[in-house]
């Protein structure tokens, strides 16, 4: 089993690769379309801006192929990888894949909070999911982001987190799961989450 990690130029994919290798997984960096078919599962890592990630994917002609595979293989989006599934982000009005119509918005500026939301925050599980196996609700995961998903379908929202306001910190939809938090930086809890992803059979 090979886990493909999508390389869009400016991400921390190596942290994800190191975590997965630590767990004994085979990994593959996907930086051209031909490598996509070798991967059994896919991870879209998170860091950087949505607009530049999307244009980089188009530049290396990965954009359309990845869209097709997204609906076929077990897929994990992390941070930007969650935001990329949506149609639009307030961040430079960038457009994502548009699987879901909701908009990614900025943290409201009138809240007494620091932005980026940076650090360990509680993830409250709204529903059970295979990827939450052996992890307790309200466990703290590591977050780094300035944009968020405020509203989403109840049945596809798997957790919420609070930083000034409540937002959706993970979503799930058949073979797709995506988190606003960074499992690769979340210590023990993150490793457990990744281990669940390696075992996951959606």
């Amino acid at each position: 089993m090979k886990v493909g990690i999508v390389d869009y130029g400016a991400s921390n994919l190596y942290s994800i690769e190191r975590s997965l290798r630590y767990l004994g997984a085979n990994t593959l960096i996907i930086d051209e379309p031909s490598k996509l078919k070798e991967a059994d599962k896919l991870i879209f890592p998170g860091q950087g801006s949505l607009g530049s990630a999307m244009s980089h994917l188009k530049q290396i002609e990965l954009f359309e192929d990845l869209r097709r595979q997204l609906t076929e293989k077990p897929f994990l989006g992390i941070c930007l990888g969650l935001q990329a599934l949506f149609s639009k982000s307030e961040e430079e009005n960038a457009e994502g894949y548009g699987f879901y119509k909701n908009e990614i918005s900025m943290f409201p500026s009138d809240l007494p909070i620091k932005v980026p939301h940076m650090g360990w925050n509680k993830v409250f599980f709204k529903q059970d999911h295979d990827l939450f196996e052996n992890i307790e609700t309200d466990t703290r995961f590591y977050f780094v982001h300035s944009y968020l998903l405020k509203d989403f379908d109840e049945e596809k929202s798997f957790s919420t987190t609070h930083h000034g306001i409540e937002f959706i910190s993970s979503i799930g939809d058949e073979n797709i799961f995506a988190t606003q938090f960074h499992p690769e930086k979340s210590g023990e809890a993150g490793l457990r989450f990744f281990d669940n992803f390696l075992k996951w059979k959606p």
Binding site: R21, Q47, K114, P116, M118, G119, K185, S186, G187
Partner: protein, 252 residues
């Protein structure tokens, strides 16, 4: 219910070893970076900070292999600094496993580096480290590992880099560094109140009470310490229990 205060042990690195000095001088050996990082991770460190303290002064680039060794075994955020002077340095550090890089001297030499780095890699991975020293009732920024004084007042400089797109400020009081008499909370609170990005306070932690004061009085979002953790005087777990007992949110 919000984001937890972060406890960040700092590993000052020289020639591949963890070292610690007092007031930026009298450097002594304090252990192996990988072993020390693993111990901190086990104890509950929320992040690690890794500063190659000679890199800037001697114009060396940071020891990439040490970064990689730590990043392969410890899966919490890792900030690396020392000798970061161009975008390529940042790219290389991120490739080897750093999550954030801290820029200090080079930001003073060229403040636009902060902006271009933030645009290329995202604000979240650009930490500006500020070494500050008091002079009368003012504080000034120092560079090159605390060796050179600049004309910038600390608070003014921090507003400049915030405007450039820094994601976080690591503020070290040179007057307190290594002294174990507590953080310079007067300085940090005056800056934190006027800052929209997270502030890490550093320099002077000697007890659990100091950590509590750094948050409650200093208004910092995170506390950084080196010597008390290296010398095993206090464990990270004890610090967190202390903070939690005062109602401060921590990751336990």
């Amino acid at each position: 219910m919000t984001v937890a205060v972060r406890i960040i042990p700092c590993l000052d690195i020289r020639e591949g070893r963890v070292v610690k000095g007092i007031n930026f001088e009298n450097i002594i050996d304090a252990g192996d970076p990988v072993e020390t990082s693993k111990r901190y991770n086990t104890e509950g460190a929320d992040e690690l900070c890794f500063l190659d303290i000679d890199a800037s002064y001697e114009n060396r680039s940071t020891t990439l292999s040490t970064v990689e060794a730590v990043a392969s075994q410890v899966f919490i955020p890792l900030t690396v600094g020392g000798g970061v002077s161009k975008l390529q340095d940042i790219e290389r550090l991120l490739e080897r496993g750093a999550d954030k890089v801290s820029i200090n001297t080079s930001a003073i030499l060229d403040p636009s580096l902060v902006g271009s780095a933030a645009r290329k890699f995202g604000s979240q991975c650009i930490v500006v480290a500020v070494d500050s020293k008091r002079e009368g009732d003012k504080s000034y920024v120092y560079t090159h590992g605390g060796k050179n004084k600049t004309a910038f007042e600390t608070s003014a400089w921090i507003k400049i880099v915030e405007g450039e797109g820094a994601g976080e400020i690591l503020l070290t009081s040179m007057d307190r560094d290594g002294t174990k008499i507590g953080f310079d909370n007067e300085l940090t609170s005056s800056i934190a109140n006027d800052l929209s990005i997270p502030l890490i306070t550093s320099g002077g932690a000697g007890s659990i009470d100091h950590m509590i004061e750094g948050i409650s009085d200093g208004k910092a979002d995170a506390v950084l310490a080196a010597s008390i953790f290296h010398q095993k005087e206090i464990t990270i777990a004890e610090v967190k229990e202390g903070l939690a007992s005062k109602g401060i949110e921590v990751r336990l």
